[in-house]
């Protein structure tokens, strides 16, 4: 398997197949990251597409800094979401039927999963911005502490503290739902 650094370098040099491979590797996680931050499925889909089109447009300026390519994509996604959310009025929260798991599953199981996703989104929404960002990148984006710190321009110590506080708040928000 090709190393990510090699793939990125190829993509920077205009190799479309390399970019496509990076796209395939990161598509789901970027979509997931955006999905928990916006209110509807349609918004998440549009923004996910935007992120990759933006990445394609800017890839020739990318400089490898020993940080996963995903960190750069998360950053684009983060900024794109902020831009988008700023334009939206704070009207409604995502309705339950807009949350979704794989639609091929058993309807009852699907409903349960959708409800759990809905609860997660609601819990994340209650966090202060910095905690939410750290929790999303760490637990949903699956970046390491070092990668989160570099992505957000914060120290590892700060990120650890934010992660801890975010987890404690999420525990409270999700309390009683962990087992079921």
């Amino acid at each position: 398997m090709l190393s990510e650094e090699y793939l990125v370098q190829q993509a920077v040099n205009g190799d479309q197949a390399a970019f496509t491979q990076l796209y395939n590797q990161n598509f789901d996680r970027i979509h997931r990251y955006i999905y928990v931050k916006v209110r509807s499925q349609a918004e998440a889909e549009d923004l996910t597409q935007d992120v990759f089109i933006k990445a394609l447009e800017s890839i020739s300026y990318y400089k490898w800094r020993d940080l996963p390519f995903a960190a750069w994509l998360f950053k684009i996604a983060h900024n794109r979401v902020i831009d988008y959310v700023r334009k939206q009025s704070k009207e409604k929260r995502a309705s339950l039927d807009e949350a979704y798991a794989k639609s091929t599953e058993d309807p009852i199981q699907m409903t349960e999963k959708n409800f759990e996703v809905y609860q997660l989104k609601a819990a994340l929404e209650q966090l202060p911005g910095a905690q939410r960002e750290v929790a999303t990148l760490r637990f949903i984006g699956q970046l390491s502490i070092n990668e989160v710190a570099r992505t957000l321009g914060k120290s590892e110590g700060t990120v650890k503290a934010l992660q801890f506080n975010a987890t404690a708040s999420l525990r409270k928000a999700l309390q009683g739902k962990l087992d079921g």
Binding site: G14, Q16, N79, L120, G129, E133
Partner: protein, 373 residues
């Protein structure tokens, strides 16, 4: 010094991620066992819930199609010689040599046959290459505007054919190509307009001005002064994003190069106005769109006399209207064809067709910045 709990929590989270059991990790820190256990369960519960989120298959498919379209354009842009690096005559010579090579390597019939090629056919790339050559040989801004408009019409016709055959992917890619071509055509029209000069100030007879200068852009929403998080990292940005720098390659330390260097959309169009001879004579005046000057004005000999600048501008105004109408007609036909394809599509494909339609609509919105509708 006792370790902070947030550090211990992070260590355990990492250990469990890499395969260690929860119990084993808790055993290392018995004094924090209860607290750590519930926090770690919460952290992994978040990941579990998030793992239920998957892109819809239709969305995944559509996003891939759109990316391919964007990649196709990126490669097309890359193939076009950059005017800033090439002088006009060198570019022309390069194109001429390429043209001779193409003619040597292909028969005339191949090129001729390609002129009717559709996006799903083998000869289509030859058709696109031929179009590039036509553009490269265009000398004046008016010629370029005319050719770009013709190419937009060609793309629109191709979308119609692809839509009528229910070929979603080809229709989507060609629709994206059309959107791009509409941008190029609008830019070319604007360029030709600036070369034709601004509307002359009437001296004696008040002449109704048919085409006003481009209206000033209405003030857009000013980017909020306060960015929620990490705004300081955002580098300066591109022209078409009025609200933000957000979409810029964000991590500044990683992106020393500013994105102003990104090729603007109109890059393919040389802006060397000094090379433009007076051209409006080459364009047949569209008499039906000319203002009925003679009816409104006294039939004196002096009245029709206008300055050369006025004549040039009037001719361009009529030409501009003609080009605009053609672009508008192309857009309308395309939209109708896509709507029709959507109507005839199966339920699961309707979404894809709607996205093609939306993409065109979006581009259309952008295009209105270039000229009044």
């Amino acid at each position: 010094m006792a370790r902070k709990l947030d550090d211990i929590f992070n260590e355990c989270y990492e250990r469990i991620r890499t395969g260690e059991s929860l119990h084993s990790c808790l055993a290392r820190y018995p004094e924090h066992r209860a607290e750590l256990k519930s926090l770690l369960e919460t952290a992994f519960d978040i990941g579990r819930r998030a793992s239920y989120i998957h892109p819809r298959p239709e969305f995944r498919h559509w996003a891939q199609v759109r990316l391919q379209g964007a990649q196709h354009y990126a490669s097309q842009q890359g193939q076009v010689a950059k005017p800033g690096h090439f002088s006009w005559w060198r570019q022309s010579w390069a194109v001429a040599v390429t043209a001779v090579l193409i003619l040597m390597l292909t028969t005339g019939s191949t090129v001729a046959a390609s002129s009717n090629a559709m996006p799903d056919q083998t000869l289509y790339p030859v058709k696109l290459a031929t179009e590039e050559m036509r553009l490269a040989f265009a000398v004046t801004d008016t010629q370029k505007a005319e050719i770009h408009t013709q190419l937009a019409e060609t793309r629109a016709a191709e979308v119609e054919v692809m839509a009528s055959q229910g070929k979603t992917e080809h229709a989507a890619i060609t629709a994206a190509r059309l959107a791009k071509q509409l941008e190029l055509a609008n830019s070319a029209i604007a360029q030709a307009e600036s070369a034709a000069g601004t509307a002359p100030t009437p001296t004696a007879t008040p002449e109704p001005i048919k085409i006003e200068p481009l209206p000033p852009k209405p003030p857009e929403e000013v980017p909020a002064a306060v960015q929620p998080t990490t705004t300081e990292e955002q580098p300066p940005v591109t022209e078409e994003q009025p609200t933000t720098t957000e979409e810029q390659p964000p991590v500044t330390e990683e992106q020393p190069t500013t994105t102003e260097e990104q090729p603007p959309v109109t890059e393919e169009q040389p802006t060397t106005t000094e090379e433009q001879p007076p051209v409006t004579e080459e364009q047949p005046p569209v008499t039906e769109e000319q203002p009925p000057v003679t009816e409104e004005q006294p039939s004196t000999i002096e009245e029709p006399k206008t300055t050369p600048a006025t004549t040039k501008y009037d001719k361009w105004a009529a030409e501009r209207e003609r080009l605009k109408n053609r672009l508008e007609e192309s857009k309308s036909k395309t939209r109708a064809a896509l709507e029709n394809a959507k109507e005839n599509a199966s339920q699961e494909n309707k979404h894809d067709w709607q996205r093609v339609i939306d993409a065109i609509k979006e581009k259309k919105k952008d295009n209105t910045h270039n000229w009044r509708d």
